[in-house]
């Protein structure tokens, strides 16, 4: 069996330590990241070019959103496939990790920003922009574009998708709820300098949410929407279908429900891309697997872990994985089940033999995890004394339910927006062994927000929680009133003032040692109160044709570097 590059061989804890910086120190240390962007190693590029590497990079992704617009309505992986090579951000947010700490190893990577200076600790930043960057249409990139981007990203009339990551910018909430002419927190100082000011000190604020959200915004050209009313910004053509960016590839064309074709930007500020074209095909899961196997596409996600493993064994393909912070837990709906919620959650933790299931089904891509702060570094990442171990014990699970007076005829509604996979089915079967009946309810993907996030129409929800490394943001998963509408993730309206108080106190604590203890203590409070059953952390998986160069292993996700599309290329067959 082919050895996978990442994940398989590296012990989880080691990896987590390697990848993340110290949260506590990051919050406290003075932070002035001024590192130059990571330049590709010259000799590697030379090698690629010499071997005739170039051509068309054809990747496949799920069905695309029919409309592309960098400012809104273009969420999701497919849109990212289309936009990532077209746009740049000021600096690259972490793929995961603690955000802008000052550790050179995992710090912020600058992109369109040349220098970021912290004027007031964790609150005000002065950003110097690169002066050698042009938009794809030849116009120069300036501070006006940055000011416009933040403004549009937050304005209510634009109906932006990712506003919540920057609501804490001064004036952001107001712009989002009421609208307005400008965003107070983002000011143009001169043609190439921007001042960014937050409402409150927020060490991670400048990159947006450190996990995932930080990736989902791009600096967009102000002139792309010249004279367009704000409410039309989202659908304004040509920006909606052929956006103008600064990145290594320019938009060629989008053939709806077929593919997007990007062509190399000869004038890219980090050098001319190796490939001539970057094509993203939009295919269903069966066709994606098939097209990868036949060589029609050179990179795609797998339809399932089994497919990932099997296809990865083919001689011309390689399957890669890397760990993430995504902590998957079964959330038991507190509002629906009331007093029963916590016993049910506890029974689930006893009933599920997650170690065995993952060993048998996940090919080393997923790892069991039950301590919410395990992905954080330092003492905070060590489980505190008194944290219960929930070793697999069906009798114990049954006992917990019996003691709570559980009605064993009840069928819990377990909601999904995709067909259940082998992990889900295995868990379901083990829950049944413990007397806990569940039935799957499959909703369509578009109802996720309505059915789950807003209405909390579920008994059980298997979702990623507490994946952030920002304690403030993690609070929005448990805190009273942090429902979907207030940009939180406490969907079922759980409210526990004891936990809230303890969390707030920990956030406010100034003494680092004491703060760490207080954080660790949160897990102890939660294990007795919070109705959820954390099970595992999920790894990201991808499959690559061996002809594709420049993504893996060059792309070092652990180091928080943007995918270097300009270095992707395909060797001749």
């Amino acid at each position: 069996m082919k050895a996978y590059l990442n994940g398989h061989n590296i012990p989880r804890r080691t990896f987590l330590k390697m990848s993340a910086g110290a949260l506590a120190s990051s919050a406290l240390a003075a932070c002035v990241p001024t590192a130059a962007p990571a330049e590709p190693a010259a000799e590697e590029m030379g090698d690629d070019a010499a071997s005739g590497c170039g051509g068309e990079v054809v990747v496949a992704t799920a069905w695309e959103n029919p409309l592309f617009n960098p400012l809104c309505k273009s969420a999701g992986t497919p849109a990212r496939h289309v936009f990532e090579p077209i746009f740049n951000r000021l600096f690259e947010a972490m793929d995961w990790g603690p955000g802008p700490d000052c550790d050179g190893e995992v710090g912020l990577t600058l992109s369109l920003a040349e220098k970021v200076e912290e004027v007031e600790k964790n609150r005000v930043w002065m950003v110097d922009l690169r002066q050698d960057v042009n938009w794809h249409d030849g116009r120069p990139f300036t501070a006006d574009d940055v000011v416009w981007t933040y403004y549009a990203m937050l304005h209510r009339d634009v109906a932006p998708t990712y506003a919540n990551q920057f609501l804490m910018i001064k004036g952001g909430k107001q712009l989002f709820s009421e609208g307005g002419d400008s965003l107070e927190g983002v000011q143009k100082i001169d043609q190439y300098t921007v001042r960014i000011e937050f409402e409150e000190p927020d060490p991670l604020g400048i990159v947006g949410s450190p996990v995932s959200f930080g990736r989902y915004w791009y600096v967009t050209p102000k002139h792309g929407w010249e004279g367009v009313p704000l409410e039309k910004v989202g659908t304004h053509e040509p920006m909606a279908m052929s956006p103008i960016g600064t990145g290594p590839f320019k938009m060629g064309q989008i053939v709806p429900r077929q593919y997007s074709e990007l062509v190399a930007n000869e004038d890219y500020f980090l050098g001319k891309p190796l490939a001539d074209k970057y094509i993203t095909r939009f295919l269903g899961p069966e066709a994606r697997d098939a097209a990868l196997e036949s060589g029609e596409v050179v990179q795609t996600g797998a339809s399932s872990l089994d497919a990932w493993d099997r296809l990865g064994r083919l001689p011309h393909l390689t399957a890669y994985t890397r760990p993430t912070t995504l902590l998957f837990a079964l959330d038991v709906n507190d509002t629906r089940l009331g007093d029963m919620a916590h016993p049910v959650a506890e029974a689930i933790r006893y009933a599920v033999d997650i170690e065995t299931i993952l060993r048998d089904t996940s090919y080393g891509t997923n790892t069991p995890s039950s301590y919410i702060f395990e992905h954080l570094l330092g003492p905070i990442g060590e489980a505190p004394d008194g944290l219960r171990r929930y070793d697999y014990n069906t009798e114990k699970a049954r006992e917990v339910l019996e003691n709570a007076g559980w009605d064993f005829d009840t069928e819990l509604e377990w909601v999904y927006w995709r067909p259940p996979n082998s992990l889900d089915l295995s868990i379901q079967a083990q829950l049944l062994d413990a007397g806990l009946k569940t039935k799957f309810k499959i909703i369509d993907v578009a109802s996720w927000t309505d059915e789950l996030a807003i209405s909390a129409n579920y008994d059980l929800l298997f979702e990623a929680w507490f994946y952030s490394t920002d304690m403030q943001e993690m609070f929005t998963h448990v805190g009273c009133g942090w429902n979907f509408n207030s940009a939180g993730r406490n969907f079922d309206g759980y409210c526990n003032s004891e936990l809230d108080d303890a969390w707030q106190a920990a956030l406010a604590e100034q003494d680092p040692e004491a703060q760490i203890e207080m954080y660790r203590n949160l897990a102890l409070i939660m294990q007795d109160k919070w109705p959820w059953a954390p099970l595992h952390r999920r790894g990201m998986t991808t499959m690559v044709n061996n002809r594709l160069q420049g993504v893996w292993p060059h792309n070092d996700y652990q180091r928080n570097v943007r995918v270097p599309f300009e270095r992707m290329c395909v060797t001749p067959a």
Binding site: E56, W63, N65, P66, L67, K73, A75, G76, T77, R156, A159, P160, T161, Y162, A163, N164, Q165, F176, S177, S209, S212, F213, Y216, G234, T235, G252, V255, P256, R257, Q258, Y259, E261, K277, I279, R281, F282, L283, G284, E286, A287, A290, A291, S294, E296, L326, D444, V445, A446, S447, W448, T449, D450, L452, A453, I454, A464, Y467, F484, N485, A487
Partner: protein, 324 residues
């Protein structure tokens, strides 16, 4: 004939009205709030704001705050003006989006029907002429096998064998990415798999009808006469049997359109064929009700037209129908 045509045509407006009523009230059953289809799900993707005021404004914008009957009438009035509403997902006019998809669907379905017809008739006539031979039994069994498997399974097996293993045909899509798009050879190359996969079921049923009607024709008086005149068997079959056997079969084409269009939801989805089926499936999965309504309406209208043409064609072929 004229009277028959008039009678037949006069039904069209009533049926169209029925189609709009049925479409509208079917979609009115849909629970949930389609406005949220604006916001994309997924933990990795982040999530937007369900700001109360924003939602209300959107509802008003889409006319979702009025009573059902009013909404139907408003919808109907707009429909008559050629406005099928705007896609929840893209804000694009539904009519425009659908109009883009129709040629692809018609091309694929016409090819499917054509393939099925040619194959079906050839096999049907062969089996009829060789009635009760080993070949007849074999082909009849094969035909049965063809209609007994779900179309997605046939499609996937075909994709695996001809595209993945043999590498003769492209996996999916309509054109090789990065090459010219439009009606070209590349398109036809991409159409082989979906068209064949969609046709298989109809090959079988056409074959059965072709076999039955050829058998009927073979025993008809004029054929007996022709044989008695001493015409060669081959000539009898070509000149007398086929003509009379095949005319009714041609009219069956219209009748298979509903099945084909229904099946296109699966075939087009598997092969990423950008037609009504794929559009409908995508709308279905993203709760894009205006778009889905548009697709349903368009599919029904296409079938209505096909039925009309079939009936008229049948009336031409078989004069008895006119006086029914």
């Amino acid at each position: 004939m004229q009277q028959y045509l008039l009678r037949r045509l006069s039904l069209i407006p009533i049926l169209l009205l029925g189609i709009t009523l049925m479409t509208f009230f079917m979609f009115n059953l849909a629970p949930g709030d389609p406005v949220t289809a604006l916001i994309k799900p997924g933990v990795l993707d982040g999530f937007g704001q369900g700001d109360g005021a924003n939602l209300e404004a959107l509802r008003a914008r889409y006319g979702l705050d009025k009573p059902v009957i009013v909404r139907y009438l408003v919808w109907l009035r707009e429909l008559l003006k050629g406005n099928l509403g705007y896609s929840y997902n893209t804000d694009q006019p539904v009519l425009e989006t659908i109009a883009e998809a129709i040629p692809a669907t018609l091309l694929l379905q016409a090819t499917s029907i054509g393939l099925a017809l040619i194959m079906g008739v050839i096999l049907g006539v062969i089996t009829a002429i060789k009635q009760y031979s080993r070949l007849d039994h074999f082909l009849t069994f094969l035909a049965l096998f063809g209609i007994s498997l779900p179309n997605f399974f046939i499609a996937l097996i075909a994709m695996y064998v001809f595209a993945v293993k043999l590498n003769w045909l492209p996996i999916a899509g309509m054109w090789t990415p990065g090459r010219p798009i439009g009606f070209n050879l590349d398109l036809l190359h991409h159409m082989v798999l979906p068209a064949t996969a969609g046709a298989i079921i109809y090959v079988a049923s056409y074959m059965r009808y072709a076999r039955a009607s050829t058998l009927d024709a073979l025993s008809a008086d004029f054929v007996v006469t022709a044989r008695a005149k001493g015409l060669r068997e081959r000539l009898v079959v070509m000149r007398h049997v086929l003509r009379n056997a095949l005319l009714p079969i041609v009219t069956l084409m219209g009748l298979s359109l509903p099945g084909l269009l229904g099946g296109s939801f699966i075939i087009e989805t598997i092969f990423s064929w950008n037609g009504l089926g794929l559009l409908g499936y995508r709308a279905l999965m993203s709760r894009d009700y205006p778009l889905l309504m548009g697709v349903a309406l368009m599919v029904a209208t296409l079938i209505l037209l096909a039925n009309l043409i079939t009936d008229i064609a049948y009336a031409f072929v078989d004069p008895r129908v006119r006086y029914e």
